[in-house]
């Protein structure tokens, strides 16, 4: 099976007043029609890696890569117009801050049906039906009301689910989901994950699942990349994540509270260890 996405030696640099910040420093990976998790501490470059695939890095940020190929298309070469045509229908991204990515002055229903009407040329009633279906799929209880609501009228988890619904409507080949379920309770989360799972299994979608939740990634993904300071420090089969070898990955796992566990201060990450100096 050929790869859906190949990234080789990706580097992203921001020029700031205090000098250049290297957010991503030589990241390489391949993605098939599978669930690839990306974990790593805050600021390690997960979001910037995801946004780079869509070329959504604004100046003063710069992307450099030896290779970025999506389904045979050289993402480093194509024009901005061609890139725009890929975003949404073929490569979609669920952003980490859902409310920030939704248009605050446009009703949820209008945002969900916009693409269906303009791109797929559906009539108003048909587009509306599809949008409501998409909301029901992500466990929105009262989709009719939510269609008429503005983003600020939604709860945190509802905003997140609206984003997921919106990104899934055009049936993308690749979905980059950045913390897509961080605002969901465990039962709604399970429903949303099973939708994503179904798309990977039945439709062969590729999924990049960025998350802080190591235990979630361990049970949901196939493979996991562990990032630290803009680099991939370890790649493991998801089932092996809790037995990961790298001291950084182990350190992250040790920081987690447990139900019924001690309430003493949680262990921190030893940032003076050898691995941290890379």
């Amino acid at each position: 099976m050929s790869d859906l996405l190949t990234i080789r030696d990706l580097r992203v640099t921001f020029d700031t007043e205090t000098g250049p910040v290297e957010a991503v420093r030589g990241v390489s990976f391949r993605l098939g029609r599978e669930r690839l998790g990306i974990v790593g501490e805050s600021g390690s470059g997960k979001t910037i890696t995801g946004r780079s695939v869509l070329r959504l890095i604004r100046p003063p940020g710069r992307i450099e890569a030896a290779e970025m190929t999506f389904d045979g298309i050289d993402l480093t070469r194509i024009s901005e117009r061609e890139m725009r045509a890929l975003r949404g229908p073929r490569i979609a991204m669920v952003m980490q801050d859902p409310k920030y990515s939704l248009n605050p002055v446009m009703k949820v229903g209008a945002q969900l049906t916009e693409g269906l009407r303009l791109r797929d040329r559906l009539g108003a009633a048909e587009a509306r039906r599809k949008a409501i279906e998409a909301l029901e799929a992500v466990q929105i209880r009262d989709p009719e009301r939510v269609m008429e609501a503005y983003p600020h009228e939604l709860s945190g988890g509802m905003g997140q689910r609206v984003m997921i619904a919106m990104m899934l409507i055009p049936n993308p080949d690749l979905l980059i989901a950045d913390e897509p379920t961080s605002a969901l309770d465990v039962t709604v989360q399970a429903e949303v994950l099973s939708i994503l799972d179904g798309l990977v299994r039945d439709r062969g979608m590729g999924l990049i699942f960025i998350s802080h939740d190591l235990r979630l990634v361990a049970r949901f993904c196939d493979r996991v990349l562990v990032m630290y300071k803009g680099r991939i420090v370890e790649e493991v089969a998801a089932g092996e994540l809790t037995r990961a070898k790298h001291p950084y990955t182990q350190g992250l796992l040790n920081c987690l509270p447990r139900i019924g566990g001690s309430r003493a201060p949680l262990p921190g990450l030893d940032r003076d260890a050898d691995w941290a100096r890379a």
């Binding site: 921001f14 700031t16 007043e17 205090t18 974990v39 790593g40 501490e41 805050s42 600021g43 390690s44 979001t47 980490q96 801050d97 409310k99 920030y100 466990q139 209880r141 009301r145 008429e148 609501a149 009228e153 709860s155 945190g156 988890g157 509802m158 689910r161 913390e179 961080s182 605002a183 969901l184 309770d185 465990v186 039962t187 709604v188 989360q189 399970a190 802080h212 190591l214 235990r215 979630l216 361990a218 049970r219 350190g251 992250l252 796992l253 920081c255 987690l256 509270p257 447990r258 139900i259 019924g260 566990g261 309430r263 201060p265 949680l266 262990p267 921190g268 990450l269």
Partner: protein, 251 residues
């Protein structure tokens, strides 16, 4: 005496002919120095309860008292020196064109707090584990977790007595979550803070809270104390479902 007392609180939003009963007849009380958790279904009214305390939601019934006094309307300055909230959405709650320095020093200026603002800002950055070099960055130059730490630092600038925390660590990785939870616990012990906090992660609630209220469809389903939570002593089906779906985070 309880520090926060909420009795039969109802909140109803009106938007274009729809009535959204976000909170229905919810009562809870949080003791001085206690840490109280809110968990439950997405959309069940958890954030709305915190917002109602701050005067940011249309209360249609019930009462809210802080230290025995009904909260004034509008809440006013004394209230915000006593009660601070960390919002669920760190992007929306930080002004996009203000540097961290301004975000953190502004509460001091507004409330006429005397003293060395520079030092207070540096200390606040240290407290939440952000490099001092970030002081003149803007929110969009930070990662999601870094922004959340700024929001926590800002809430603590005025040294409030009560902190309302809406998903304070769901945007944070395990190591920063541990740092922030340890920081919150330490500050609670040192300053005698009272917490009312929302989280979806039962392990976080178990670690931080003395009691927890489980919510669904705008209503309180069941209150659990710490031993009941850790020992699976819940009585309602919904609370049990949440517990069982959290099997991956048990000891």
């Amino acid at each position: 005496m309880a520090l926060i007392e909420i009795e039969n609180l109802s909140v109803t939003f009106r938007s274009k002919g729809h009535l959204v009963r976000a909170v229905q007849d919810v009562s809870l009380s949080v003791g001085d120095g206690e840490s109280y958790g809110l968990v439950g279904e997405s959309g069940s009214g958890k954030s709305t309860i915190l917002r109602a305390i701050c005067g940011l939601a249309p209360v249609t019934g019930g009462t809210i008292r802080i230290a025995g006094q009904p909260v004034p309307d509008p809440r006013g300055r004394d209230f915000s020196r006593q009660v601070q909230m960390v919002f669920q959405d760190p992007y929306a709650s930080l002004h996009p064109r203000h540097t961290l320095d301004r975000v953190l020093s502004e509460p001091l200026a507004i409330h006429g707090v005397k003293g060395d603002a520079d030092r207070a800002v540096m200390q606040a950055l240290d407290d939440v584990g952000l490099p001092r070099a970030f002081r003149f960055r803007y929110p969009h130059q930070l990662s999601g977790g870094q922004r959340q730490r700024v929001a926590i630092a800002r809430a603590l600038m005025l040294k409030p007595r009560i902190v309302l925390l809406d998903e304070p660590t769901s945007a944070l990785d395990a190591s920063v979550q541990a740092e922030v939870l340890n920081l919150l616990s330490r500050l609670r012990a040192e300053r005698g803070l009272t917490f009312l906090m929302v989280s979806h992660d039962l392990a976080v609630i178990d670690h931080m809270c003395d009691r927890v209220l489980v919510m669904q469809h705008g209503r309180a389903v069941e209150e659990l104390n710490h031993a009941d939570l850790a020992g699976a002593g819940m009585k309602t089906d919904y609370a049990r479902t949440l517990f069982e779906a959290s099997a991956d985070r048990m000891l």
